[in-house]
Amino acid sequence: MANNILAFAESRGGDLRKVAYEAVTAARALADATGGEVHAVVAGPSGITAKAGALGTYGADAVTVVEHPAFADYNPEALAAFVAERAKGGGYRVVVLIASAQGKDLAPRVAGKLGVPLASDLTTIRLDGDKVVGTHPVNTGKVIATVTLTANPAVVSLRPGAVTAAEKPRTARIETAAPAGDPAASRVKVTQTIAGNTAKLDLGDAPVIVSGGRGLKAAENFKLVEELAAAFGNAAVGATRAVTDDGWRPHSDQIGQTGRQVSPNLYVAVGISGAIQHLAGMRTSKTIVAINKDPEAPIFKVADYGIVGDVLEVVPALTAAVKAAKGH
């Protein structure tokens, strides 16, 4: 039985992403259990090799890098071919990816090329003899499935943030490799990557999320949500579908069953009723605060702390109090 673990290290725009370190951290824990090595793979445009050493800090023993101009944007076909080729070549026990937007697209392709199922979006992973066992929230997070993989290799994607990147420093052997086939010949081509507001904290990374619902009454009032987020300093702004449907906020801000699933340390629900489809995206947040004028609103059932009142009055007062608490 192979003991080594393969980790896919995601990059965007020539830089490694935080999830790359999460993948290597998870792979390190598995390799420590098997007594094997962690091999990471990275693909990107020219210059990405210089970034690869950082993966050693998180426990990669070796990093294989492929540099090619056709990897400047996400290149799903060429990347899947490359990862699958490495996975076949090395005789790996587990192939670890992270279920980020890119990983959700890449991981099933890699599994398909290797002829095995994919255990997606796991929140935990461990080895059990020759099996791989993970937990995976199903039915919009209302049920937790424990999934057993007997496929070889086991291909898994972990939920972003399920593993906290932890340093286990070593000097990784860096090797460069040629792509599998011609990456410029991919049938599916990314013609443009539209950068969001880079100053804006992503919902997946933000320790605090302030989210607004239809209780705000009008698009202009969303500035109250933005001001509260700004007072926390480390916060991103989310929204309900009612709000994204009305065009007050872009669809990418939507939290819930059909939007983003988030688990920040603090989730502040402003004028949100707490429909089941919204709860599906935020019920695993560590602390939940709800502000709603209706004491019967279902959001209060999941909120640790609730205030019954008009958001147009309560939120500005809360913003001022948070600013004061933060000393500014």
Partner: protein, 250 residues
């Protein structure tokens, strides 16, 4: 234009689930069932594409037990041309096995486009579409939030964390559909009547070995009951105090 849409029958989610005595599935007593949300968007997208072109055929395919024929009939009542039921006793969790059954059916079917929902709302793996594409060696876009087809070519948009990407691909292709592409229509009475006479073919599903199984299902720990701190602006200082001292998030 010939489009296949792969759909799944799933329980409605607005309930408190119970775990079955086996401990490996949810208790199905009293559950209501419907087409998985994203699959509904995919059916709608397929119907809109063929309506816009003024010709074509939309075929729905499902892997499921006998009861999954209700889900196929719903798609037929929305306007789909015909349906294929790949029959199993219970839907396995192994997404490769499901993809294999679908690919076996779709292979050689002459489809220009094969659509999926971006994931099923119950098992939430998001893998069947892209794995099917690999088995059929077709170009694939997963979780498209916009989709356009013209002149034998497709363009799509995918949402990323704080960004988005635009993609281009040749047909035939596999695309899995995110919300945003199309809201599913409600079947009309006429549609429901017509669906009863539309062809629905039943075949055994060719699953192969199962290498991913559910060993247990459990309910997540309950959140501790929340507290309403008070009313209006007067409750703000207490909230800030608790965020600092109890939750330690401020």
């Amino acid at each position: 234009m010939k489009i296949a849409v792969c759909i799944k029958r799933v329980p409605e989610m607005d309930v408190r689930f119970k775990i079955a005595p086996s401990g490996t599935s949810v208790d199905e007593t009293g559950l209501k069932w419907d087409m998985s949300d994203f699959d509904g968007y995919a059916v709608e997208a397929a119907l809109q594409l063929t309506e816009k072109l003024g010709n074509g055929e939309v075929v729905v395919v499902t892997v499921g037990p006998d009861a999954a024929q209700e889900t196929l009939r719903k798609a037929l009542s929305m306007g789909v041309t015909r349906a294929v039921h790949l029959k199993v006793d219970a839907i396995p969790f192994d997404n490769f096995a499901i993809a294999r059954a679908l690919a076996t059916e779709l292979q050689g079917g002459g489809y220009d486009l094969i659509l999926f929902g971006k994931m099923s709302i119950d098992s939430s793996n998001g893998a069947v579409g892209p794995i099917t594409a690999e088995l059929l060696n077709l170009p694939c876009v997963a979780a498209a939030s916009k989709l356009e087809i013209a002149n034998g070519k497709g363009t799509a948009r995918r949402e990323l964390e704080g960004a988005a990407e635009l993609l281009e691909f040749p047909l035939p292709a596999v695309v899995s559909i995110d919300e945003g592409v199309a809201r599913p229509r409600y079947p009309s009475l006429k549609g429901i009547m017509a669906a009863k006479k539309k062809p629905l073919e039943v075949k055994p599903a060719q699953l192969g070995d199962l290498r991913m199984t559910v060993s247990t299902m459990a309910l997540p720990p309950d959140r501790p009951p929340g507290r309403i701190l008070g009313e209006g602006v007067a409750a703000v200082p207490e909230l800030v105090r608790l965020l600092q001292t109890e939750a330690k998030v401020l």
